[in-house]
Symmetry: C2
Subunit: 352 residues, 2 copies
């Protein structure tokens, strides 16, 4: 892709809205200067903030919108109120219109997904979109999906998720044939729900060309980094993600308490401060901020609503990577290859 990466931003999304979004966008620009921003929201709020970031101002166009979606609005409400005219909708619509390569919002997840589906539509050959999270592991990073777009998934939808997640791994991690595992409660073929068992059999039989299906994985395999892509339906995926976040916070709390309990511990902390700082940086949840909506005719990135500028910058940087490395193109290729493969396999079946 030549030229600048065009990122449309819902400047009113998130707990602090433009107060977080504008400084966040400014941070990214330092790392990735080849961005052009389309900022959607209240001009009266955005423009004064841009005055503090002259470089961002130079690379941005501001599009006024009167309507902002609240963090607690129901998806159906948000659609009624915000379709066409909200900053969230307009940021997504810019992708649909081809004016932006990718959209980012820190607004409410349900509303953002509803609008994204309504505006961008699901890709042909994909039944349902998924939200993919990038999960830090002991071996690097893995992709976990779906972490909450939809509750439940049938076998075919799980296979779609495998292909979508595989394409994302190829895009951001540059892995040629990512390893894929189905999240289950045991690694034996007989374990788990029927949908997962069937999806496992189908993935083995069809063996999609651009990924390497390795079988079932369990909850502790995610953090180990056993596979590049972990596939599950949205209920279990969301619970896994939040449980891991909770556990990480809990252990950080234990560590802080342990390091401040005695004078020796405090002295030890001072000596090891560099190490603790690195550890803190490694565990910083802001670095991994950004859920990727996959399976739509366009890419939308969801940032945590409660993050700060640094965290929002991570989400925008993720958006940048996805657009720069042509995620949508890779997904289309992978879906095409998979379906051609399916047809061939069926033919062989008939002949044999």
């Amino acid at each position: 892709m030549s030229g600048k990466i065009r990122i449309s931003v819902d400047a009113m999304g998130g707990d602090a809205g433009a107060q977080t979004v504008i400084p966040g966008a400014a941070i990214v620009l330092e790392r990735c200067p080849d961005i052009e921003f389309l900022l959607f929201g209240d001009k009266a709020v955005i423009e004064p903030l841009l005055e503090n970031h002259p470089r961002l101002k130079e690379c941005s166009r501001v599009f006024h919108s009167d309507v902002a979606i609240e963090m607690d609005e129901k998806p159906s409400q948000a659609l009624r109120k915000g379709r066409g005219k909200s900053s969230m909708w307009q940021a997504i619509a810019a992708v649909k219109a081809g004016d932006a390569d990718v959209a980012v919002s820190a607004g409410n997840t349900g509303a953002l997904m509803a609008m994204s589906k309504f505006c961008l539509r699901t890709m042909s050959d994909i039944e349902r979109p998924a939200i993919a999270a990038i999960w830090p592991t002991m071996r690097g990073e893995s992709i976990v999906l779906d972490v909450g777009a939809t509750v439940g998934a049938d076998s075919q939808q799980l296979i779609d998720f495998a292909i979508l997640g595989g394409a994302m791994a190829r895009t951001i991690q540059g892995i040629e044939k990512p390893t894929v595992g189905l999240l289950n409660i045991g690694v034996e073929e007989v374990k788990g729900v029927e949908e997962v068992r069937n999806a496992g059999r189908m993935l083995r039989d069809l063996s999609p060309p651009n990924l390497q299906y390795v079988g079932f994985v369990e909850g502790d395999d995610i953090g180990k980094g056993t596979v590049d892509v972990v596939v599950t339906e949205g209920f279990a995926g969301n619970i896994a993600l939040k449980t891991a976040e909770g556990t990480a916070k809990q252990l950080a709390g234990y560590l802080r308490a342990a390091m401040s309990r005695t004078i020796f511990a405090k002295i030890g902390y001072l000596f090891a401060k560099g190490a603790f700082d690195r550890l803190r940086a490694k565990m910083d949840p802001r670095k991994m901020n950004g859920g990727v909506f996959l399976g739509l005719n366009g890419i939308v990135i969801k940032s945590h609503g409660g993050t700060d500028g640094e965290g929002f910058a991570s989400a925008v940087e993720l958006a940048y990577d996805m657009a720069k490395n042509e995620l949508i193109k890779k997904i289309s290729e992978d879906i095409g290859d998979y379906h051609r493969g399916k047809i061939t396999t069926a033919d062989e079946g008939l002949e044999g």
Copy 2:
């Protein structure tokens, strides 16, 4: 309860069998001298091991069994092969016969649950047993169930789990009216699967007398200790448990790596060694070893198969606490109170 607590043990269960079980039982005896052990397994293996633990030998009776269930046997296989004659079955049967107050095994979970159900039967008014885990939280400990007895649960089964978990919290934590939350992917009433939403409504309407239903909780609420009892079906519960275990290991790995990277960090580690030791003890998974099978006419405790003597001792100690504090009696009371309450509520409904 007067007299000794009688604990039946499947001495052949677990990766290392009696090599772990016998030293483990000996450790518990130091902490809880009022135990009588019934040890089931190969006498030729058990008796020589007992020679190293004269005190344990004195408090134990050994019952010979030729058949040991393998760790990878399917439940149906295990039942066919081991019903009546395996050490696992006999340990459970001792509870049924009233010879033991509680059974402990480190054997394979599926086989142990299948045999426990077959031998002890599900309690009347309870549809399905659950496996409850004790989860360390920032506020102490919570109970999470089901962590893998069955995949899926309908609303009534989730309510059963709430009552079973509540009774367990009353037993081991001495809380009079434990708080209970339903694990979901959002705290709003409209979120999640139908079974969970219905169970939430029913728990609000029926308000079982011995627990306090607080609503939906999310994955990160488990580690926070938001509620005393977290209720979910076995698929999501197992994934949450294993994901948390995986995250804890991952962070411990990061911490170890950080503390050995530079000379300053190493010096810091030496100063803070006491703090790190306490932290390690706090995070020691062996301390929280033991899944409790709830909803059967008798208590069975499942120890991790790969644990060591110290870990097995934790599982036995948990069994001891359950028996000593009369878990089964409390469960029966709570189920009775709940069903009387349901009938009263229905009557009121008719009259009003």
